[in-house]
Amino acid sequence: MIEVRDLTKKFNGFTAVDHVTFDVKNSEVFGLLGPNGAGKTTIIRMLSTLTRPTEGTARIGGYDIVKGDNQVRKLIGLVSEKMIMYDRLTAKENLRFFGKLYNIPKTLLNQRIDELLELVQLTKWKDSKVGTFSTGMRQRMNVIRALLNMPKVLFLDEPTLGLDPQSTVEVREFIKKINKENKTTIILTTHMMNEADLLCDRIGIIDHGKIDTLDTSTNLKKLVSGDDTTVLKLEIPNLTKKMFTAMQALDCVKSVSQENASHIKIHATGDEAFDTIIDAVRAEKAKINSVENLQPTLEDVFLYITGREVRDKADNKIPVRQHGPFRQKRRIR
């Protein structure tokens, strides 16, 4: 469905997307996972014909995104990070306006608008102005707006950003439903590991404009765990710097990270890893309160691949609310 070849975007010498190549199969959910500023949004904007690539090509449904841009536009729907909604128009007016841009016949459009509003339980508010909606309602509107033209490919740029847990779950369920029922191919970006894990068939981990690794969630985790990897979480109330270095010095230990004052997380390999580590900790006269043997998560995968934690960067730049008179400042994409 989507073929991306060496797609590159430079902004005044800064390379936002660096020779990215990947394919997305029909009716697949493909995730682009990475911290903010990694280039996810720029990839989405190029694929949705909003930004012209500096180098490389991409084809959607057989059409080139530059030469066949208008053909591509007919196939796609975009749920942007920013709300594509006019606050002073009602829900129905908004949907009708965008629907008309796709030349959908009036009766069909009205029918589809009613269905979509029903689908996200907004029928009650169809004649209220979008400006009065809560963030969750707005995001649901934002998603169904992209579905007006029944797109073959749906782009979702951080679809659950800034939503409360309940709305987040609702939007995720909805995304799954669209994929299953309409066989829509979905590309979504996120910086949340569990979201990618929950929704995506395959995940591309992207950082500094490059896709580092691309595979299914399960395979990605295997990358970390291999067959003999152990991930241990230890709670040591009297944790010292010396224990920490002693831990790192062990042959079987691949990495040690400190989570807080008393918790450390250890990646290790080998059959004897567990015993070796516990012995070593004991030898340092550490008091062990608890030991957890963890299954690797995508977060571990990310740490393993990029050498840093995704949250470090993401948390610094958690975007503010998406609506209201003072909007988020533009950031480098």
Partner: protein
């Protein structure tokens, strides 16, 4: 993609924009208030007849007379009051002498003074010149010029009356009109293109109309598009399979409608409040306003493409708007400006639009009289649009 779909998309976008506009109460109020402010402000600040009126002036009559007669000052006062009553230029306060007048001026109670000296009648009767002293307020040169003008009119009329009397005394057979012809053989009579009384409003109303309509497109277009860009809604239109031109076209339509609405408000105001009438065809007036809009669309679009966000757009607008406002002859006649300013003025489309509009509204001109202006506006519009379209297309998909 057919032209028809493009046009229909433009109408959708225009309709949506106007809908947003009319739902914004505050904005709507300001939309109507702005031309009202503009008209009343500009109309009342600038004097409507180039002459001041009701200037407070102190008068000290110190004429001691000659014998029992104060004929000199009496005639002066009669003629002076006669003229002043008909023009309403000065408001007279009586004072005793020159020092009181100076005091009054310093206090700001009056803005000038007239003193008839004690030897006024005696000088005239003894065959000398009669002198009247004007006390001027140096901090306000315009007022002293006004008083001087008033007095010279008085003396002119007194002199004429005196000369007429003398001619009639010499030859009683000559009637009054002949005696006037002997004293003042030449006279001036002014004849306008159209009859009626004209004020400064007649001069500025067409200019302000042209300015408001054209500015609303030039500023409204970049503001509207950069706003949508910033909020993100522009992406919604950009991902739809529509011609990029229909976005500009739709936005322009909406802004034009907004501008024309303001133009109509200005026209209504000027005719109701300030007695401005359209002497030419109303249809031609609106045609000219539309043409003005057309000539500005390209410029607006180019500015839109350059402005990355709304703030930059607004600043760009302001920078361009002010020189244009003052150099286009909307408020002041271009002929008053030095030549280099005049040459800048001659490249601004607003100059031509307001000139053409003035010709039609004030002088009742038809299309043949404004062909130069029409040509300039059309050429400017076409050239700007030819530049704007590729620039816009590039800017939208950076």
């Amino acid at each position: 993609m057919g032209t028809k779909t493009m046009i229909s998309h433009s109408f959708r976008i225009a309709w949506k924009d106007l809908m947003e506009l009319f739902r914004n109460r505050m904005g709507l109020v300001l939309l109507i208030l702005m031309p009202i402010f503009m008209m009343t402000m500009v109309g009342f600040i600038y004097p409507s007849d180039n002459i001041l009126s009701n200037v407070p002036v102190a008068l000290a009559n110190q004429d001691a007379g000659y014998g029992n007669s104060t004929i000199g000052s009496q005639t002066f006062l009669t003629v002076f009051n006669g003229i002043n009553n008909s023009t309403g230029m000065l408001t007279i306060t009586n004072a005793t002498d020159i020092d009181t007048i100076k005091d009054l001026i310093q206090k700001g109670d009056v803005q000038g003074g007239i003193v008839i000296p004690s030897n006024f009648t005696s000088s005239i009767l003894s065959g000398e010149q009669g002198t009247v002293i004007i006390v001027t307020d140096q901090s306000n040169p315009q007022i002293s010029a006004t008083i001087q003008a008033a007095l010279s009119a008085v003396f002119q009329q007194m002199g004429t009356m005196l000369a007429q009397q003398k001619v009639q005394a010499l030859n009683p057979a000559v009637n009054a009109s002949y005696s006037l012809a002997i004293v003042q053989p030449y006279n001036i009579q002014s004849e306008g293109v159209v009859s009626g009384h004209f004020s400064y409003f007649d001069f500025i109303a067409p200019g302000i109309m042209a300015m408001t309509v054209m500015m609303s497109v030039m500023t409204g277009l970049p503001a509207a598009i950069s706003h949508e860009k910033e909020v993100g809604t522009l992406d919604g239109m950009m991902v739809a399979p529509i011609n990029r031109l229909s976005i500009i076209l739709g936005k322009t339509l909406a802004q034009t409608a907004r501008g024309l609405l303001q133009g109509v408000i200005i026209l209504a105001l000027s005719s109701v409040l300030f007695g401005v009438t359209i002497h030419g065809s109303v249809l031609l007036v609106f045609g000219l306003l539309l043409l003005g809009v057309f000539s500005f669309v390209g410029l607006g679009v180019v500015l839109t493409s350059f402005a990355k966000d709304q703030e930059t757009a607004m600043m760009l607008m302001m920078t361009l708007m002010f020189p244009m406002m003052f150099l286009s002859g909307v408020f002041f006649p271009i002929q008053q400006m030095p030549w280099y300013m005049q040459s800048i003025s001659s490249v601004l489309p607003l100059t031509y639009a307001s000139r053409a509009l003035r010709k039609v509204m004030v002088l009742g001109a038809g299309i043949p009289a404004i062909t130069t202006e029409l040509t300039v506006l059309i050429v400017f519009g076409v050239v700007m649009i030819a530049i704007a379209v590729p620039v816009f297309k590039r800017a939208m998909t950076r």
